[in-house]
């Protein structure tokens, strides 16, 4: 799958164009009351080692019992992207030793994951549509957390000992692996945002990188544009925000290009992103792969899924956010960034849809929703759809502005009042006489007053200072208490000023 020249990142290596080839591997903590294989609470934070039991501590004699809701979450997540659910699925043990691993094996899935395949379709900020294939989405358990102490900079190397907290051990983790279909850092971030948008809408995760409920690694390589073979890839870890992901991938692409330009060879290794230095640093060489000795976990009974049950889950998914983004961009002509903002803010897309159904003016409606209404929501801490200004009232207001009945300044004032008090914009306009003044005579009278009161500014304008026009228009608006038709005001100002030369 190759990208168009406009969207992919291309790097020049001694005169040859190389394209970026990126795959993302994400771990998403699922939103459930309890952990994956035991009944301990699945909550962020908490006093260390208090959300633990024999199972998630890997104590002798303890046994895993799978969380049915977590399984349902993964199935729905996969189905949302058109993935396949197999007839038969199971958990496998991935065996390796590490102090944050209570059993020194992780219960995961190897060859029969709960979902495989699927496609994530999304738009880049510039409007380009992209599709990325998923390899699989499977279910596993998270490890505990360790703090490395004794070194001067808190880093692992040089530490003398570590402290381990098992509160996180056993939290259900969804692993999403993409094919290496991404062609730039920007795409990688847009892909992650599409995943997050969908998972949040499905209710399967809160996907908060800052809380660790989304962690991702990037596999990055370069190859000559048009080549079918893959170059050697490096794995990039330790990216803690979407911004880091973008910076880290770009940094690594530049580094690899530099190595290739100098005639060097890319080494397959794991590199950690260092935010402060703005570069990736070798963590360990992947030359020697782990022998994880995967085998089916004998403590867990394999799962069977019938076509009927899968169909029922798929049918019950409900409207998906990426489809909504598509509708906004392709059919209503909104900008991608606007579409994303609508969908990503709880309650807002539904509100917008209800308003647009009445206004039939998507751009005008979205401008108010993402402009004034969003500003008020942030200031007051109230959701747009929970304010007193309902979509029907907004639609009415938009109609009044589009129809020229009121100025946008008046509209702004009305919004402030409707937000907390509710009511009908049309009624308010009539009752308080807020209609826009477009009578030339009335405007001329105001213009004359303003010019007289601002003689110096008027002289400045006549002398050639264009930008003071904004001030003068503002004064006319002020004198009219916001009701003057601003375009007409400006026209009459220019006319009178010219006439008074």
């Amino acid at each position: 799958m190759s990208a168009t020249l406009e969207t992919g990142t291309l790097l020049d290596v001694n005169g040859i164009a190389y394209e970026a080839v990126i795959g993302m591997e994400c771990h998403v903590e699922l939103k459930t009351e309890t952990k994956m294989f035991c009944g301990c609470p699945n909550v962020f934070g908490g006093e260390p080692n208090t959300h633990v039991c024999p199972v998630c501590l890997g104590m002798p004699g303890a046994l895993p019992v799978p969380n049915g809701l977590a399984i349902e979450h993964v199935l729905r997540a996969g189905l949302a992207f058109g993935a396949e659910v197999p007839a038969f699925s199971k958990f496998d043990r991935k065996n390796y030793f590490y102090p944050d691993m209570p059993k020194n094996y992780q219960i995961s899935q190897y060859d029969l994951p709960f979902t495989s395949g699927g496609t994530v379709t999304f738009r880049l900020p510039d409007g380009t549509q992209r599709s990325v294939r998923l390899s699989r989405i499977h279910l596993e358990e998270d490890t505990g957390k360790s703090m490395h102490l004794g070194s001067s900079d808190g880093r692992l190397s040089g530490s003398t000992h570590s402290l381990v907290d098992f509160n996180r051990a056993g939290v259900p983790l969804m692993e999403c692996v993409s094919e290496p279909d991404l062609r730039s850092a920007v795409e990688a971030v847009a892909y992650l945002e599409a995943l997050k948008r969908t998972f949040v809408a499905l209710g399967v995760s809160d996907v908060k990188m800052e809380e660790g409920s989304l962690r991702c690694d990037a596999n990055v390589s370069l190859r000559p544009l048009g080549s079918a073979e893959y170059g050697t890839k490096t794995e990039i870890k330790n990216m803690n925000s979407f911004r880091s992901v973008q910076r880290a991938i770009d940094s690594e692409l530049a580094r690899q290009a530099g190595v290739l330009r100098a005639g060097g060879r890319i080494v397959q290794e794991t590199r950690g992103w260092d935010e402060s230095q703005g570069t990736t640093i070798v963590q360990r060489s992947k030359e020697q792969a782990h022998d994880y000795r995967y085998f089916p976990d004998p403590d867990l009974v394999p799962f069977e899924f019938t076509e009927a049950s899968v169909r029922a889950l798929r049918d019950a998914l409900g409207p998906l956010p990426q489809a909504r983004v598509e509708r906004y961009v392709a059919r209503e002509g909104l900008a991608v960034v606007q579409a994303h903002q609508l969908v990503d803010t709880p309650g807002v897309a539904d509100y917008y849809d209800a308003a647009v159904a009445l206004t039939n003016a998507p751009q005008a409606t979205v401008n108010f929703v993402l402009g004034e209404l969003t500003r008020l929501a942030n200031e007051t801490g109230t959701r747009i759809d929970r304010s007193a200004l309902g979509p029907a009232a907004l639609a009415e207001l938009v109609g009044l502005v589009e129809g020229g009945t009121i100025t946008s300044k008046i509209a702004k004032d009305l919004i402030e009042r409707l937000w907390s008090e509710g009511g009908s914009p049309r009624e308010l306009v009539e009752r308080e006489g807020l209609a826009q003044v477009s009578d030339v005579g009335a405007i001329d009278a105001l213009v004359a007053e303003v010019i007289a009161a601002n003689a110096k500014v008027a002289d400045d304008f006549r002398a050639g200072k264009e930008k003071v026009m904004g001030f003068l228009v503002g004064q006319v608006m002020k004198a009219s208490r916001g009701k003057a038709n601003p375009a007409l005001a400006e026209e009459r100002l220019r006319a009178q000023l010219a006439a008074q030369q």
Binding site: P60, G61, L63, D291, R293, P298, L300
Partner: protein
């Protein structure tokens, strides 16, 4: 009081509920007898006096309030791979030598709720790996029938405690024969139910797809009531079956009319020592005398059982025992860094047999060998299970020796593989998950033995057919009466 302690499980509970004797009296008498007898046998690693007395106190309270707990005041021994809250639970290993369990195994909890008195934790082969109890790192257990011989394994301590009558029953665990083989060696009844009938939560795992907890007692009827108390779905064990537990403590059958008993062609008796062969031949004749129709059945893949088992069980155990690493509990041998600490801790904490199985199990799962070893063994397992399914189309119960010989002397089997062969007759049933038990069927007195040594008849039923199996076993037992009524002569001698 001595008389009460020699009664069966049901009789003791009945006596306590009828208030002929109190649980407190039984606790004292049992602990006293244990102190007297166990130094000769070495069945117990830990004696839980406080637990026993506290349990007795509660039972007496309940009885006084009008309750009739099913196992009121019954003194019990619990294999030391079972977690009991607050007790030292060691698996007979140095790596858990001082570990205190913070929770109860479900099976134990159900018995405690029924009123048992836990006297202590019994010795076993380390992590249940062995067939003689000689692999214990923490003690030696002797066969009460000949103190110079092994009690069998891995549930050696549990069977010895029951045979010595220091407990009315014991809990063991069986992975490839670890209840049935020692039960045969010590002349007691040992029962392993269908895989999934009794919860494994709190049983420290050896091989997850094979381990089962089971009762060890002096009669089939006692084993039945214990099984019934423990069995049933457990939300803490995903491998337990949500299937009704047929009542098995209603009077069990005493005849075998209409029962087809399968005799396995591949387990021919003429391969055995003549004296042993005669005992089993007589056992088969007794089955017929009791009304059974003997039918020849074939288990052509059974001979591959030991090889199959010694790939699957070690593979699972190599993963199950990875958690013993010195980080969160148990022994830690501190070294420069975590990796060195893991290696030093596990080297010091595990005995040779455990190390061997971890090594071979790791090998069987490792890259390049997984298909040739582990997968192939799981396919052989499918064939073995299919053999049994075909056999059970033609019979209701399969009979065969539980072991090829009686208990052997200490250090007699120094070669690991010769020890593995002790489970030849019990492994195939484990691989197929079938319910299986050993019931005393006679004695032989080999040269050099202290006296008669018990032999056990192994009876096996189809999946979930515990009732039919216990019926057949009860019929055989009541129709032949081989089991001893008191502690065996050598122990009685040692005590006098």
């Amino acid at each position: 009081m001595d008389g009460v302690l020699d009664l069966g499980v049901r009789e003791i509970a009945e006596a306590v509920n009828a208030r002929r004797v109190s649980a407190a009296e039984i606790a004292e008498a049992a602990l006293s007898r244990l102190r007297e007898r166990d130094p000769h046998v070495g069945a117990f690693l830990t004696v839980t006096e406080d637990l026993a007395r506290e349990a007795a106190r509660r039972v007496d309270e309940r009885v006084a309030a009008g309750e009739r707990p099913a196992l009121a005041g019954v003194p019990a021994a619990l294999k030391d791979n079972l977690c009991v809250t607050g007790t030292r639970t060691t698996c007979a290993s140095k790596i858990l030598e001082n570990w205190i369990a913070p929770y109860d195994a479900t099976a134990v909890r159900r018995l405690l709720d029924a009123g048992i008195l836990p006297l202590g934790k019994t010795n076993l082969d380390e992590f249940a790996m062995g067939s003689s109890c000689e692999n214990s790192a923490l003690g030696v257990t002797r066969n009460p029938w000949d103190l110079g011989r092994v009690p069998g394994g891995s549930s050696g301590g549990s069977v010895a405690a029951v045979a010595a009558r220091t407990a009315a029953f014991a809990l063991g665990s069986d992975t490839g024969g670890s209840i049935r083989e020692p039960a045969a060696f010590c002349g007691v009844v040992g029962f392993k139910p269908t895989y999934g009938r009794i919860s494994r939560y709190g049983l420290i795992a050896f091989a997850s797809s094979l381990d089962q907890i089971g009762p060890i007692a002096n009669s089939v009827a006692d084993a039945a009531v214990l099984y019934e108390t423990m069995a049933g779905f457990d939300p803490y064990d995903a491998t337990t079956v949500a299937r009704e537990v047929e009542p098995v403590s209603a009077p069990l059958r005493e005849d075998l009319r209409g029962v087809r008993v399968g005799i396995v062609k591949e387990f021919a008796l003429d391969e055995l020592d003549p004296a042993v062969r005669d005992v089993y031949a007589q056992a088969y004749r007794d089955l017929e005398r009791l009304g059974a129709e003997l039918v020849e059945v074939e288990l052509p893949t059974a001979e591959y059982g030991v090889a199959t088992y010694y790939l699957i069980a070690p593979a699972e155990c190599s993963s199950n025992l990875a958690r013993f690493d010195g980080m969160r509990y148990g022994l830690r041998v501190e070294a420069a860094d975590v990796g060195a600490t893991y290696e030093a801790t596990r080297a010091a904490g595990f005995g040779d047999e455990v190390k061997r199985r971890i090594l071979i199990g790791t090998h069987a799962l490792s890259s390049g060998y997984y298909d040739a070893y582990y997968v192939r063994a799981q396919k052989a397992r499918t064939l073995i299970a299919a053999d049994f399914a075909r056999a059970f189309a033609r019979c209701d119960v399969i009979a065969c020796p539980a072991a090829a010989s009686p208990a052997f002397a200490f250090n007699a089997k120094s070669d690991p593989y010769s020890m593995y062969l002790m489970d030849y007759y019990t492994i195939p049933m484990s691989l197929a998950g079938l319910p299986s038990l050993s019931v005393p069927c006679g004695y032989v007195t080999p040269e050099g033995a202290a006296g008669p040594l018990p032999l056990g008849l192994e009876l096996t039923g189809p999946l979930f057919a515990e009732r039919a199996l216990l019926d057949a076993a009860n019929a055989y037992e009541t129709g032949t009466r081989h089991a001893a009524k008191h502690a065996p002569p050598p122990l009685a001698e040692a005590l006098s």
